[in-house]
């Protein structure tokens, strides 16, 4: 894979390809040029040989449809930005495209004004990538990202997702004014969010009128958290046992006994299907095998139907009910008393996952 970042347009209409190739080349800053492909197969071939930063794809494609192409690209080329540009005015396909991980969904412009807006959006997408590498930040910490936003004097809301937990940071003209996650607000929420070492983030439109709850500067807050991390690391170095004790407690599945109606739990490695931890289960291997086999089948089915990821699975039995939820690279299976209703299971599971992930 060589050369500068390119844009790839995928559509089975040659006239459309030709027109949009010219429009994008004229109005969008693309270092490596604009490529075209009239089928999904051809597009996938180009993705292997060229450095594609942005792929604009129609949904109506011959043989391999757009949703299928998106699904493959998102899995094999997670760094490539994906934009759907289609004439298909259908809410279900829009939802499915977003569920498969596209960045934007556009209806093919019908007027000059709409075309202008589309080209502006593509320009913004390319510029954002060029300036701060929105998707290429795996090696950057959250602190780096916040500092970049502040230096850019951004007014935005940073939504940070850490497993099933979500946090938000409100920035107004580069100043951090508020933070929120779970039950926490203000500086406490910021300290919790900044402790997350992995996850995803998204920049949402800002809110100039957000009430200020944070009065310390970003630099001050980051220094405080860095100091806290350093002290914890130092303590662990000097006395690993004490250090481990003073750190946040590791999640223990047996703690789940504190939740009414929860009877057992098992955590599985999503790929291998082996139990990493379990509590209250007589034969963990049996449960692990069944859960793993079912989840593997359901994931493959979701991919075939292009229905998006498996979010939750509930198994209802006379003796016990089970809820399985993917969390990162693991599947967490929780067993409940059979008397619990589906809604109650869902609420308890959500609370458990929130605490477990944190």
């Amino acid at each position: 894979m060589v050369g500068l970042t390119k844009v790839l347009i995928v559509d089975d209409d040659e006239e459309f390809l030709s027109l949009y190739q010219k429009l994008l080349a004229q109005h969008v800053t693309v270092a490596g040029g604009v490529l075209t492909a009239n089928s999904g197969q051809r597009a996938l071939g180009l993705l292997e040989s060229e450095q594609i930063g942005l792929m604009i794809v129609d949904l109506n494609l011959p043989r391999m449809d757009g949703l299928q192409v998106i699904s493959i690209v998102r899995r094999k080329h997670p760094q490539t930005r994906l934009v759907v540009l289609t004439s298909l005015h259908d809410e279900q396909f829009r939802a499915r495209a977003y569920a498969l991980g596209v960045d934007q969904y556009w209806l093919k412009p019908e007027t000059d004004h709409e075309t202008g807006l589309f080209l502006e959006a593509m320009e913004a997408l390319m510029r954002r990538d060029a300036q701060i590498g929105f998707r290429g930040v795996q090696n950057k910490s959250l602190a780096d990202i916040i500092q970049i936003e502040c230096l850019a004097q951004s007014t935005s809301v940073l939504r940070i997702t850490h497993g099933v937990v979500e946090g938000r940071l409100w920035l107004v003209r580069g100043d951090l004014v508020d933070a929120e996650t779970q039950e926490l607000k203000g500086e406490e929420a910021f300290q919790r969010i900044i402790s997350w070492t992995e996850g995803t983030f998204e920049s949402l439109p800002g809110d100039e009128n957000r009430t200020r709850t944070i009065f310390t500067s970003v630099q001050g807050l980051l220094l405080n958290s860095a100091q806290a991390f350093d002290e914890a690391a130092q303590a662990e170095l000097q006395d690993p046992v004490a250090g481990a004790r003073s750190g946040p407690p590791a999640p223990v599945l047996s703690d789940l006994s504190g939740y009414a109606g929860v009877e057992c739990a098992i955590v599985l490695d999503e790929q291998a299907g082996v139990s990493e931890d379990h509590w209250g289960i007589h034969d963990p291997k049996q449960v692990a095998d069944w859960t793993h086999k079912s989840m593997k089948e359901f994931r493959a089915l979701g991919e075939k139907l292009r229905a998006g990821d498996v979010r939750r699975v509930f198994f209802i039995g006379w003796e016990r009910k089970y809820a399985v939820s993917p969390v990162g690279t693991r599947d967490v299976c929780v067993g409940f008393q059979s008397s619990l209703q589906l809604g109650e299971m869902r609420d308890i599971l959500r609370t458990i996952l929130t605490k477990w992930v944190c």
Binding site: L88, H89, E91, Q92, R96, T111, L305, R320
Partner: protein, 104 residues
């Protein structure tokens, strides 16, 4: 760009060869054959069979692991499948969901 207003390929439509996620119900006998279905005919039969096979396999795997399960609810980002086992046969409900509905 004024020409864009007259170019036919830019007209929006709802016509497509893409498969829509269906809403409906189907039943399967204990051998895994589809007995009845209210799913639209536009939804490929192969997909219906695949859904049926998956849920039947999961019921079977539960039995083999001595776990008694008679109902499965699978929530995807944009689709919900509910399967109920009835003496070896099964009734399966399929319903598309919006992203907001599924984001709990």
């Amino acid at each position: 760009m004024g020409l864009l207003n007259f170019i036919p390929f830019l007209r929006r439509s709802t016509d497509t060869d893409l498969t829509r996620l269906p809403s409906g119900t189907f039943t399967m006998d204990r051998k895994g054959s589809i007995v009845s279905s209210t799913l639209p005919t536009s939804f490929p039969l192969a997909h219906v069979r695949e859904i049926g096979r998956c849920v039947m396999d999961s019921f079977r795997a539960a039995r083999q692991s001595r776990i008694r399960v008679n109902e499965i609810h699978i929530h995807y980002s944009t689709l919900k499948i509910t399967a109920k086992e009835m003496k070896g046969s099964a009734v399966v409900f399929v319903m598309p969901t919006s992203l907001e509905e599924s984001s709990y």
